[in-house]
Structures are given as C-alpha cells and as structure tokens.
Symmetry: C2
Subunit: 442 residues, 2 copies
C-alpha cells in the first residue's frame, strides 16, 4: 500500500518572513520590488514539486514601513506574473471579502485560473485592520461576526458565479456561428442582505472548476467558516498537542456541513532555520534575531495586541491586555501571542525575539533531517495534512528546503517525486469539480 | 529638423474586432481562452515598436455570448501575463470607476506598473451598462453626470495615492535598519462626497511616476473629463473633417485646466483590412461581413441604441430612436450610430455591415501603402496624434500591420524605428513625472 503523502505550500513574503530578513547578508533588499525575484521563487517551488505558493496581504501600510516592507504587490497580479513562468505549481492569493465586490473578485480569480491552466487559489480574509478600514471609507472596523456574515455571502456569490457556465456551455461552432449555448450560461440572481448580483460571469469554467478555497482564521467563527467553505487551512500551532487539538477540532466540524474529513487539508506554518548542524542552525536564527529593531517590534506587537506598547520596558512582562472581545482585528493572532507570553512567562524582549521570525508561527532550527523528522511526527501524529513552509529569508531559505528537505521527504515516501496532475485542486487531492469539457483545439 | 512622429496603440480583442472574426478561417476560435495567444500578440506589438496594447472591458455578459466572446479575461490580469514576456510595449487596461474602490484599483495598477517596469496605463471608464449595474447591486445605471463626478473624485484619490511615497522615500539602509523614510510616506486623508481614503499606498512610486491615464468618452462631459485628466484619448471619428473637429475641440479644452495641447494625445480608431491589392482587401472585408449573424447584430444594435430592435426588418431604415437624454449608457456610441444611419440613409442591414468590423469605428480596406497614406493624411491634417489600430482578425491582422504598414511609416520618418525609452509615458512623449529615485542594486 502506498504511504499517504503530505502537502507543501511555500508561504512567500518579500525577501523572507523574518522581520529583519532584508538586512541580513543572505538577502538582497532591492529584490522586494523585483518581479524576477518572485518568478525565481515560483520556479524554485515548482522544482521542489510543491503544491503551491502563497501570499498574504494587507490593504494598508503605516509607520511600520520605517523598518520593513509593506505588501508592495497586489497578490493576484504578482501571482499572474509567476504563472507566466511556471506550469504546475499552485498559486494562492489572499483577497478580502470586506473591501471587494464579489463579481470583480470572482472574475479576477477566474482570469488567474485560466491564465495558469487551473492553478489558482483564494485565501479568504475578512480584513480586520483599522488601518485597512480607513482606506475604504470606514472610521472603525466592522464587527467580527458581521465580517464573517459578509464573507459567507461573498463566497456563496463567487461560487455561484463560477458555476454560471455549464461544463459544456462553450460551443465554438464556426459553421453555425454559435459561440456558446446561451441556455447553459445562466444568471445567478442573487439577492442577499449585502449583495445583489445577477450574473452570469463573463467567463467559462476553468479546467479545475473553480479556484481552491483557503482560509486561515482560527477563532471559533473562523473555524466554522473554514469547516463550511475551506479546502485548505493555514494555521499557526506551536506544539504538537496544540496542533493535534486544532486538527481534531476543525475536522470534527466538517460533518455538520456534510463534508468528509479529507475534504479540507490542515497546514500548520513553520519557519525553518536550516544548516548542516543544529548548532549552526541555532546560530543562524540568532543572527536574524540580532537584527530585530525593538522599535519596529514594539509597533508590531502593539498592532497584534490592540494595545499601545510604545515606551514599555523591553525587560518587563507584557502589561495587562484588553479582553479578547475588545479586539477588533485578528483575534486568533491576539490569543496566540497572549498565551505565548503568559504560559512561557516571557519578557517583551523575549516575546519579540520569538515572534520576529514568523509573527507567532512556530520556528524551527536544525538540520534538514531533523526538520523532516519533525514534519513526519506532526503528519503521522494527526496534527497536519501538510505544512505551510515560511522561509525566514528568501530565496536561500526556500532553496535549502527544496534541495535538502524535500528529497528526504520523498525518500520516506511522504511527498510526491513528480506532479501527477496539472491543477491546484488536483495537487491537494481534492474531489474533482465539474469543469470545462469543451475540447479546445489549441 | 526631425519629423514629428505619430503614436500607435494596438487595441486587442479576442481573436479580432470583427464580431464574426472567430468564425473566419484566418482565426482559431479556441485561442480566445489561451493566454499564449495574448502573449504572442504582445510580442508582435513590441516587434512593431508600438507604443502600447490595450483591452476594453465590460463587467457583464448576456445573451450575446450565443454569437460572440464576452470579455473573458480581466484586463489587468491578462496584461500582467503579457508584461511577463515583453520589456518595452505599453500595457493599457480598462477599469471602471463605477464599481471599484480607488485604493484597490490604484494598488493593482501600481502592481502592474512595478511588474512591467513602468509600462502600465489605465483607460478610465464609468461603466454605463445596465447589465453591469445588475452585477453590483443596482437596478438602474447611475446617471451620466453622477458617474463622471464619481470618476473625477476616483481619479483624484488614485493620483494622490500614487504620489503618497516621495521619490526618494525608499531607503533600504541595511546598516541602520531603515527600510523607508516614514516622513516621506504620507497619508492622503481624502474625505470627499463619495470616498474617504486615508492612504498611503502600500507601494513606492513606479519608475514612470504613475500609470498613463487614458480616456475614451466623447460626450461633452467625457471631453471635459479627458481635457482635465487624460494623457491619451481613444476616439471613434469616421471622416477627416470629423476627426479635425474633434481634435481641435478637445485640444482647445486643455487650456482651461492649465495644460498644453501636447499633454494629451488623440488617437482615432481604425479597423484595417489589408491586402496586396485594394480589390483583395475589399474582398477580405466582404468575407467577414458575410459571416455576420443578423440576430447577434440586432442585439448589439439594440444595446447601442437603447432600443429593442428584435424583429425589426433588416431592409428598412432604423425606427425612431429615443432622444439622447434618455440614453443611460454610452452616449457617444449612440450619437455616432444615429448620425451614421441618418446621414448615410442606411437600412438596418447596411448599418449592421458597417458596424460589424469595429462597433462604429472607421473601417479601411486597401493596401499597406494606402493605409500609410491615410494615416499620414490624418496626422498631418490635424486630426490625430496617432492611431488606435483595431485589427479585424488576430493575430493575422496585427501581423500584417506590423510587417507591412509600420515599415512604410518608419521610412517616411513618421514612426520610431527603435524604442528610445522604457516607460509607457516615455513612449507617448509625455512630460516626466516625479518617479522613484532610490537606486536599486538589482
């Protein structure tokens, strides 16, 4: 019997996830603006047979640009440029249900899906930042539950639009002049509390039916939303036990929505510092930690915790924090950081060092073999269907993962040695959806 | 003294502008869904040293898909894929001020501008279709003046966002840890009747400062909008006299906004049928006309004129039309078609044949030499700063233009033989804007 295989996503960010990555000699800071850098990363991920690459997003920037790059590129656009130089690796873009129109967003993802030959994925976010709200006419962030209601209706509309052309709607009969069978291109006539959208979409179905749906929220409503809609979940779990609990909890919620446990893949994040010896890997991580700007980190921490920490002593524990109900933004991130500081009794300086690599995601320093062991442990231990690999510096941190960790996983039968399909949904082993059947000569 | 040179834009559409292009043996209909087709067209335009390529857009489709392709790809996404395989040709995407948020759209265009190295352009449309309105929660199209007011505020916000990073804001000083000079990354604090946007944008200035602004409306408010904002105008003028009148009128409006006549380039559209003899070119046009589906054409004509023509006799003149004040959509298109039918006393069948090639744009059938003569006549006659070339079939119709017309224009000193710059604004000879000065090592 073939061993069940895990899934790998490369979570990309500028020249690395570590907040000071751009200052380290292993990176070239100018590449944050260079599309060729991102195209190289896509080729690299494809060389490693990874399921996908992924970009987070943020619809605002602020004083933090003093010390680190904002989200310079809009993800769908950037991934389109990466699609042009690859043919297999999946392309997952974050986009907001809070500040877009469903028709526009469905159409952009369909464009990426057609351009990439069925490799598009959508990481659904509700946009909880007050900075973001201010760029879209709001003085305050809409409340948490309202954001998820809007997200659900948004995804319902998008999904209906993606199904508005039947599989065989495209006819292209030059003789009769019939381009499409208009009985198979249908309005969706959605009239909901937040959106009214008639449809149809301008565009035939993609070869994967529709983009892969991804989600990353870990609050209770985030998990329910994921259980109803998501096909992959990116999560931040720091210990095996936490990972197992989250995995079991999320999978158990699927039944309620008539879905099987395998219809959703759980991918915890990990920030790997890799070297030939564990000591060298730990030393490498320390080099990055030393480059952290406390000023920047306090600003980031203030943002995560909804609490102004400027001027707070680095060598004291955190001050008392507001209750989670008062947090308007990312509640999962808040809970994670608060738990971390409290359970491990950290000073602010220690907390900053721990968060610098991956904003709360698990960091790991060791050899490629040790990392493979760790991934296998989580995978076999029921804490993961795969992993969200977050290289602390780029491209080097992805390079070493692809060249030295992937082969070990392949030798152990844990990871594909060749792509077996061409679509993102196919890579993740998800059930096929109705997709375009019109035979195209091209 | 060097001869003043004209500008050339390739207006691309599926496998050609002629509504039945996809049925003609010179095209392959399956390529409407094939990104490689569009990438080939971009390479072809670049081989011809054209200033730019351009896509129109429509945020809806309807029963017309029975006989012709809708706007399958979202233009910014498609042009990004085309940017990836070219390095010089400009990339102009249509996008709506009616159904987008300024922050999102400004950001997407900046993404394309960074990805392409300063080759992005935005054709600003207000979206007048009732089908489009129905995809964005409206039962009716917002009125004409309101749409232009919104467009003006939208462009003001976008332009402010594009200037929110000073030229030298990006520092990238690895030693001190200063990524950007936050004093040079500023909020815009826009609070207007329709939008409140704090800014700044997430992204440094592009190498051309900001995308080129393009416009195509020819109503009085359209012309005023163009005179205030546009740097290139695509227009549909059928005779030299009309072209001269429009050119003079539009240029005369610039002064009011403190702009010089050369700050805006006027590019009339032309649909060229080219062959080695005039008779063959006329025969080629007739082949396309013969493929027109009257059913489809009546539907298109009904849409342009805001009047249901289904069942109307093809061999009678148009029925009485509603006055222009009652037209909710594209008023310029309505006026053009109405004038054409009345002044040339056409039957509906004749009108359909005339419109089939370019929806009201001028068609031309002749030899490459004759076309070059015609372009030179308009250019020297004060009717054009350049031309919007609308090949009736693709890629062949662009191929013959690039291979046989461009060399004649070059020999006459009317068109560049090599690109002299790298940005779209540079190609159009527009004054330089403040642009990113940070020297990037990459």
């Amino acid at each position: 019997m073939t061993r069940k295989q895990l899934h790998l996503n490369a979570f990309l960010m500028g020249v690395g996830h570590h907040e000071a990555a751009w200052r380290h000699p292993r990176t070239d800071a100018t590449r944050v603006l260079d599309v060729a850098h991102f195209q190289d990363l896509a080729r690299l991920a494809e060389r490693g047979k990874l399921d996908s690459v992924f970009f987070a997003d943020n619809l605002a920037t602020g004083p933090r640009v003093r010390n680190n790059a904002p989200a310079i590129f809009e993800p769908i656009t950037l991934l389109t440029a990466m699609a042009a130089v690859t043919s297999r690796v999946g392309l997952i873009a974050t986009a907001s249900t809070g500040y877009n129109e469903p028709f526009n967003l469905a159409r952009k993802f369909t464009s990426l899906d057609h351009i990439s030959g069925g490799r598009a994925g959508w990481n659904i976010v509700t946009s909880g930042g007050v900075d973001e709200a201010a760029n879209f006419g709001y003085d305050e962030v809409p409340d948490h539950a309202g954001r998820y209601d809007r997200a659900a209706e948004f995804v319902d509309v998008a999904t209906a639009l993606w199904s508005s052309w039947d599989e065989n709607a495209l006819v292209l009969d030059e003789e009769s002049g019939i381009f499409a069978d208009s009985d198979k291109v249908n309005t969706i006539d959605h009239r909901g509390p937040r959106f009214s959208v008639r449809g149809p979409l301008n565009s035939p179905r993609s070869v994967q039916g529709r983009p892969l749906l991804v989600q990353a929220g870990s609050s209770a409503s985030g998990k329910d939303f994921a259980a109803q809609y998501a096909e992959a979940v990116f999560t931040a779990q720091r210990t095996l036990t936490e990972g197992q609990d989250f995995y079991r909890d999320l999978k158990s919620r699927l039944r309620r929505f008539g879905r099987a446990p395998d219809d959703l893949k759980v991918l915890p994040g990990i920030v790997p510092y890799l070297a030939d010896t564990e000591a060298d890997a730990v030393g490498l991580e320390a080099e990055f930690t030393d480059l952290i700007s406390p000023e920047y980190s306090l600003r980031q921490l203030s943002w995560m915790l909804g609490t102004d920490l400027s001027g707070h002593s680095l060598d004291s524990p955190l001050p008392p924090l507001p209750p989670i109900e008062q947090i308007r933004g990312n509640k999962s991130r808040y809970q994670l950081v608060k738990n971390l500081a409290e359970t491990e009794e950290l000073t602010v300086r220690q907390l900053i060092g721990l968060l610098g690599g991956g904003r709360g995601h698990r960091t790991f320093a060791g050899t490629p073999e040790q990392l493979a062991d760790e991934l296998e442990l989580w995978f076999d231990g029921g804490a993961a269907d795969g992993f969200n690999i977050m290289p602390p510096y780029l491209p080097g941190g992805l390079d070493i993962f692809v060249d030295q960790v992937v082969p070990i996983l392949q030798q152990r039968g844990l990871f594909r040695t060749e792509y077996t399909g061409t679509t993102l949904r196919g890579h993740y082993g998800l059930p096929a959806l109705p997709s375009r059947t019109t035979s195209l000569k091209g």
